[in-house]
């Protein structure tokens, strides 16, 4: 009996709260079933530091708010056969995009000058520059599967992954929605 080929899955978080990854972990004992069928080749949940060249399913949480987010989204699109937007930030901008109503300089001032009492300064070293407009993932690269929800429930993520493992394209509208 040959072991079935595992599909390669990569995940990362962009501008979000990591809650969607927490919801992923909320799959609990189903995670054991999952590791029999998938290899997590790159993720904040594992140690690998480099995104492999050929990934079957890429999962992005969070919206595109900085140059680093943008680079990661482009890299995921380039190296993943199927790209999944996981959660409302990735799907519609959600809370991170609420800063789009303000000028970026005002947002940065608010965070680093107006509300601090000692040594107000704007960090420039070691942090990626923020983009002027926060966008959902599909505002920058093509996305194949959209999983709305804040966060999508563990059941919804399990359904989506099960369908993808089975070689089918899921319809997440049956199990989750904006806001969830």
């Amino acid at each position: 009996m040959s072991t079935p080929t595992k599909i390669k899955v990569a995940t990362t978080w962009l501008d979000g709260c990591s809650g969607c990854h927490m919801s992923f972990l909320d799959m609990d004992e189903r995670l054991i079933e999952l590791v029999r069928q998938v290899d997590i080749v790159y993720s904040p949940l594992v140690d690998t530091k480099i995104l492999p060249d050929d990934v079957d399913v890429g999962i992005l949480e969070g919206s595109i708010s900085s140059e680093d987010d943008l680079e990661k989204a482009l890299a995921f699109r380039k190296h993943c056969k199927i790209l999944v937007s996981l959660g409302d930030c990735a799907v519609n901008g959600n809370v991170p995009a609420m800063r789009n109503h303000f000028k970026l300089s005002d947002v940065v001032d608010r965070a680093y000058r107006d509300t601090v009492t000692t040594q107000p300064q704007i960090p420039t070293r070691g942090v990626p520059a923020l983009l002027s407009v926060v966008k959902p993932i599909h505002g920058v690269v093509g996305v194949d599967v959209f999983v709305p929800g804040c966060p999508p429930s563990a059941d919804a993520i399990w359904y989506v992954l099960s369908e993808l493992i089975g070689g089918r394209i899921p319809d997440p509208s049956t199990v989750t929605r904006f806001g969830a």
Partner: protein, 243 residues
């Protein structure tokens, strides 16, 4: 369009909706017949008990022999009508309409007090809106918290005018109206004064209950806590028209 006055001795017509042969009173609209027969038709501006507005276009249906689509809320049934309520074309249009509503203002469901009790959020899921294909406008709209009991957030308003109609037709106060055009269009209280300074508002809260989204809510509600109760409306409306 005023609510159809129920007349005695009204004729019964037969028609076909989605392949089902149905009979209905000739003074009924297509949406009323569909609701009576558990045929789902999405709508946001239509609400049983209020006059017909026909603005949201979500209830559009196809009628055999007609090139154009008809709003089910504002079209009376007629003998021999053959109606389709859920074709691929209609699904596509409905999805687009809902997406445009999301793109125009700021419906951030996850931080909305009506999360989980919102008709727009529900319809988005029903219509398969798993993302919005047009760019968001990203324009901030004002919030009016001047009323001691209620709050108005234009970011969540879809301009269905249920508040305008319930205030005029049921409460009889006509505090609400509509001002401006296009994306500047907004609901106003009195002559565009702060709600809390309104001379006409009776603070009955009917507008809050009929609002399909989180645009009109009770003060003091937190995310997901604003549950709407619309039971009063058909009861009041029917008693009024029975007189």
């Amino acid at each position: 369009m005023p609510p159809p006055a129920k007349q005695p001795n009204v004729r019964v017509v037969t028609l076909n909706i989605d392949g089902r042969d149905l009979s209905a009173r000739e003074d009924e609209t297509i949406i009323e017949v569909c609701r009576e027969n558990q045929i789902p038709i999405p709508s946001l501006c239509y609400l049983d008990g209020l006059s017909v507005w026909g603005a949201c276009r979500l209830c559009l249906v196809e009628l055999a022999g007609q090139g154009r689509l008809l709003a089910a809320c504002s079209t009376r049934v007629a003998e021999g009508m053959q109606i389709l309520t859920n074709t691929e074309k209609l699904q596509r249009y409905r999805r687009t309409i809902v997406e445009l509503l999301f793109a125009e203002r700021n419906h951030v469901c996850s931080v909305c007090v009506s999360n989980g009790h919102c008709e727009l959020q529900y319809l988005a899921q029903k219509c398969g809106v798993d993302h919005v294909r047009v760019p968001y406008r990203q324009v901030a709209y004002p919030v009016d918290s001047s009323h001691e009991m209620f709050r108005l957030d234009h970011d969540r308003c879809i301009l269905c005018t249920r508040c305008v109609r319930v205030c005029d037709e049921i409460e009889g106060a006509h505090t609400w109206d509509v001002m401006g055009r296009g994306s500047d269009c907004r609901v106003i209280t009195d002559m565009a004064q702060p709600w809390g300074e309104s001379d006409t508002c009776t603070s009955c809260g009917k507008c809050v209950q009929v609002c399909p989204t989180g645009a009109l809510v009770k003060q003091g509600t937190s995310v997901g806590e604003m549950v709407k109760d619309q039971h009063f409306l058909p009861i009041l409306a029917r008693r009024r028209h029975a007189q």
